[in-house]
């Protein structure tokens, strides 16, 4: 059966392109330069709160466990997408969905089921962000850094083929930044209602407010300032630890005192002497430490505090330091030394030596979180810095020059635009999964990175698709039969 012919049967309309992100969904039609709309991936009852349908954190209703609820909310959401925003009857249409490499199978299968059985779409394709993004800068080889809401995923692509074993992911994203903002506000912020005395913030602010603060005030600070911030944090942490050690010692000495008193009565003077000596030494050391403590240098100029109007009568006093410190969660290395920069470098280390230079020169940074001011500058700076100074990378990456691409749309729309380009190509037809296929295969979808689409003309598809999908490779074997 010719799929070209099938394409005509599907109806003339341009394929629908959906990028359903955890927080925002970009929606529009193939071949258009920008999405028709960008809306929160959420449903809302009249007058009720906004409920995000895919967020896997606190505001999620489904937690991905209750399939029925998930299905219901996805179908409600898609109803809004098709009928209210795109004003299109999805019946007999083709749909391209952008997805994350980490998109749970369950979610894509539920989405497919809703699209096929409720909206009766003719065919659909799931395609990964990273490969779609390459279309927007016409690059075959490059390293895609997707900094999304919950996590950051780094994936090298060589000549259109994703190097899967070199991918990196870590839970670094906007949700971490928002948690950090909340943490700082609850430690140092104040809330004031009308003229009443300002109180400290005890309950969690709404995600909407936190997001707003992040978007309007936060930025990724310069490396030098960041270093000072980290040193300051480290010093503070040490101080806390030391205090704790001191108090343990106090308890310990109290206990000893009791014991000694007991032994004293039994004339064990030696023991008492020993104790006195010991405690004297400890006290001395403690005193010495606190005096020799180095001054914590704060970055200067210090950021001035802010007043955030929550509503007409409530105001939130926010410490200015939040602005640059919150986004540091992306760059400060955690216990395993993972930050966005080290993820990029680690990924490069796992790539074939011959491609490393080219990959480093073709970084493509996508995802809404990377829109924070200063993000790309800091990333490039750290990459250079670490590649030159850190033992682990110096020997292998010091020759690399790091450069980033400038895609023609803001970073949060890059994969959507890539999808729009991809879906406007003729070869897109070969990747489609039809309703019949879906039903015949027990409502499972082929994995973009492994399974072939058996019914299709194999060679045609493997050669005309931008090889983005490893699926093509398997086709040879299916043809052997």
């Amino acid at each position: 059966m010719s799929y070209k012919k099938l394409g005509m049967v599907f109806g003339g309309g341009n394929p629908i392109v959906l990028d359903i992100g955890e927080t925002y969904t970009k929606l529009g039609f193939a071949g258009e330069p920008e999405p028709r709309a960008v809306i929160p991936t959420a449903i809302q009852k009249v007058g009720g709160p906004l409920t995000y349908i895919l967020k896997s954190d606190r505001s999620c209703i489904s937690q991905h466990l209750h399939c029925a609820t998930l299905k219901q909310s996805i179908s409600k959401f898609l109803e809004k997408v098709f009928f209210k925003i795109l004003q299109i009857n999805p019946k007999h249409q083709r749909v391209l969905l952008c997805e994350s490499l980490l998109n749970p199978t369950k979610i894509r299968e539920v989405i497919a089921e809703v699209l096929f059985h409720q909206f009766e779409v003719a065919a659909l394709v799931f395609a990964p962000h990273h490969l779609l993004a390459c279309f927007t800068v016409a690059m075959g080889t490059g390293l895609v850094v997707d900094c999304a809401y919950n996590e950051t995923i780094v994936l090298p692509v060589i000549e259109g083929t994703p190097i899967l074993w070199a991918w990196q992911s870590a839970p670094l994203g906007s949700s971490g930044i928002q948690d950090e903002i909340m943490k700082e506000i609850s430690e140092k912020g104040k809330i004031q209602v009308r003229d009443e005395a300002a109180k400290s913030v005890t309950s969690r602010l709404s995600e909407r407010v936190l997001e707003d603060i992040k978007v309007k005030a936060c930025f990724v600070t310069q490396y030098e300032r960041a270093k000072l911030i980290h040193d300051g944090k480290l010093a503070e942490w040490r101080k806390v630890c030391r205090k704790r050690v001191g108090s343990y010692f106090f308890i310990f000495s109290n206990f000893c005192n009791h014991a000694i008193n007991y032994f004293y009565n039994t004339n064990l003077i030696m023991l008492r002497l020993l104790y006195v000596m010991m405690s004297a030494r400890f006290t001395q050391k403690n005193v010495g430490d606190s005096t020799s403590e180095q001054e914590i240098t704060k970055p200067s100029p210090a950021l001035s505090d802010m007043i955030y109007p929550i509503d007409g009568v409530t105001r939130l006093m926010i410490p200015g330091s939040v602005r640059e410190e919150a986004a540091e969660v992306l760059f400060e290395q955690d216990n395993d030394g993972t930050s966005i920069s080290t993820m990029v470098l680690d990924s490069l280390l796992q790539c074939p030596v011959v491609s490393r230079k080219e990959l480093a020169q073709n970084l493509l940074v996508i995802g809404g979180t990377s829109l924070l001011p200063g993000f790309r500058h800091r990333l490039l700076f750290e990459l250079k810095e670490f590649a030159e100074s850190e033992e682990k990378y110096r020997s292998k990456l010091s020759q690399c020059e790091f450069r980033v691409h400038n895609p023609p749309v803001p970073a949060n729309l890059v994969s959507w635009l890539g999808a729009s380009i991809f879906a406007s190509l003729e070869s897109f037809q070969h990747r489609l999964v039809t309703k019949e296929y879906f039903n015949q295969h027990n409502r499972k979808l082929p994995d973009w990175c492994g399974l072939p689409f058996p019914d299709k003309t194999p060679e045609a598809s493997s050669h005309t698709t931008p090889a983005s999908f490893k699926g093509g490779s398997h086709l040879g074997s299916s043809k052997n039969k």
Binding site: S427, A467, G476
Partner: protein, 425 residues
């Protein structure tokens, strides 16, 4: 005839598509429609600089949040209908080029494959295939060499056609990358400038114009408002043009289709009689069914009266269901009371008359005893009826694969009737 009428209904989703309006604009801050304002300004006269004349100029303002085009320094216009321009996305050209380029590549590959003259000359996409076999793919190393491309007759002929028709070669300038010195740096004032939350665009405001994503309120630019326009839609059965494309969503014809009168039974007062306060009165009302289906009506007391309207009579509703026959256009021209349907046996104490899709029935009501002669008497009740909505059209458009009767939804209507004034004793 029947079908022609039914054709007029269609699922709502088929009706409309979105269109950018050229005359109406939306506020970039709150997305309300902007309205044109006129203002008089005194300017020196061109002929005689010593005199000054007043001149009318026009600008756009939001009634909701007070945003104006003047605030961002957009010059006023001299004519009401002057064209306001939307800012263009400077990257649009590049995106077009990208799309053309990839389309060209894909076509070229298809064509070359069809020719299969030189298997050595492999294109952009197939290089990737080789690499894939080297690095990533499952272990089927030489399969593609042993088995050269087999394409379907259709695709190869299409490709050959295209080769003959010689598609133009498209080239694309390689994308620019930037190093640490070229990439946007944080401005120095970011550390010193105070944050004014009201002067920075929220994420909603940014995403409202996705390709621009303006960050500062002072950079806002109005956006053309989108509106729904009708698209042409043909009946699947008879190929009639059901809906003609139209650019005016306020067209009367269009609105009529959605008016409640076409979907919800109408209640009227059949006959007025004298009303006596404090005693039982027989009221006669009539019901008209405007839909294409026989409907079953059952009455319910209205327990939750709102504050604005109150009835001042207790009402005794018919306990049995009333069937109202469907609207039949043909019946309008036939004088016999029933149109081919078997005569219904109605309870004469309840039903006054039955004529096509109309029915008259009795209600008992007792107006409150404290009403004085001349006071208006209000009764209230609710009734429930089935509604087939767009289902009938869905069925029609789908053709045979939905042969079964569509399932109705049940609607409940609340009615207040002013049945007249209390009669003089």
């Amino acid at each position: 005839m029947q079908i022609a009428y039914q054709c007029c209904f269609a699922p709502v989703s088929g009706y409309l598509c979105i269109c950018r309006s050229s005359t109406s604009w939306q506020c970039p801050a709150c997305s309300h429609t902007l309205s044109t304002r006129a203002s008089n300004s005194i300017i020196p006269s061109a002929e005689d600089p010593s005199k000054s004349i007043s001149k009318k100029t026009y600008y756009q303002a939001c009634n909701f949040c007070r945003w104006t085009t003047r605030g961002i320094g957009m010059p006023d216009k001299d004519v009401v209908s002057a064209a306001w321009s939307e800012k263009n996305n400077p990257e649009q050209l590049r995106i077009r080029q990208l799309m053309d380029y990839y389309r060209y590549l894909a076509q070229k590959e298809t064509a070359e494959q069809a020719q299969r003259k030189s298997s050595k000359k492999r294109g952009y996409f197939s290089t990737a295939m080789q690499l894939q076999q080297r690095y990533g793919g499952p272990r089927t190393p030489q399969s593609s060499k042993k088995h050269p491309a087999v394409s379907t007759p259709l695709s190869s002929s299409l490709a050959a056609l295209r080769l003959k028709g010689s598609f133009k070669e498209v080239t694309l300038e390689p994308a620019q990358t930037c190093g640490i010195d070229e990439v946007e740096k944080l401005p120095d004032e970011i550390y010193t400038k105070k944050v004014d939350f009201t002067q920075i665009a929220s994420i909603q405001q940014r995403l409202y114009q996705p390709s621009r994503q303006i960050e500062q309120v002072e950079d806002f630019w109005p956006r053309k408002s989108t509106m729904f326009v009708k698209r042409s839609l043909r009946c699947k059965k008879c190929d009639h043009n059901i809906i003609k494309p139209e650019y005016n969503s306020s067209s009367i014809k269009f609105k009529i289709q959605l008016v409640a009168v076409h979907h919800i039974p109408e209640v009227r007062i059949h006959k007025e009689g004298p009303i006596i306060a404090g005693s039982k009165n027989k009221i006669s009302l009539s019901l008209i069914n405007p839909t294409e289906h026989d409907i079953h009506i059952s009455f319910l007391p209205n327990t939750e009266e709102n504050n604005t309207k109150k009835s001042n009579a207790t009402t005794e509703l018919p306990s049995s269901e009333i069937v109202v026959l469907k609207y039949d256009e043909a019946a309008e021209y036939i004088s016999t009371p029933t149109s081919g349907k078997p005569e219904m046996f109605d309870d004469p104490s309840l039903i006054i008359y039955r004529r096509a899709n109309k029915i008259g029935f009795y209600l008992q009501c007792v107006p409150n005893a404290d009403l004085a002669p001349g006071d208006d008497v209000w009764i209230t009740f609710r009734f429930r009826h089935e509604h087939y909505g767009n289902a009938s059209v869905v069925k029609l458009l789908k053709g045979d694969d939905a042969a079964s009767e569509p399932a109705p939804t049940w609607l409940t209507q609340t009615v207040f009737v002013n049945i007249g004034k209390v009669a003089d004793k």
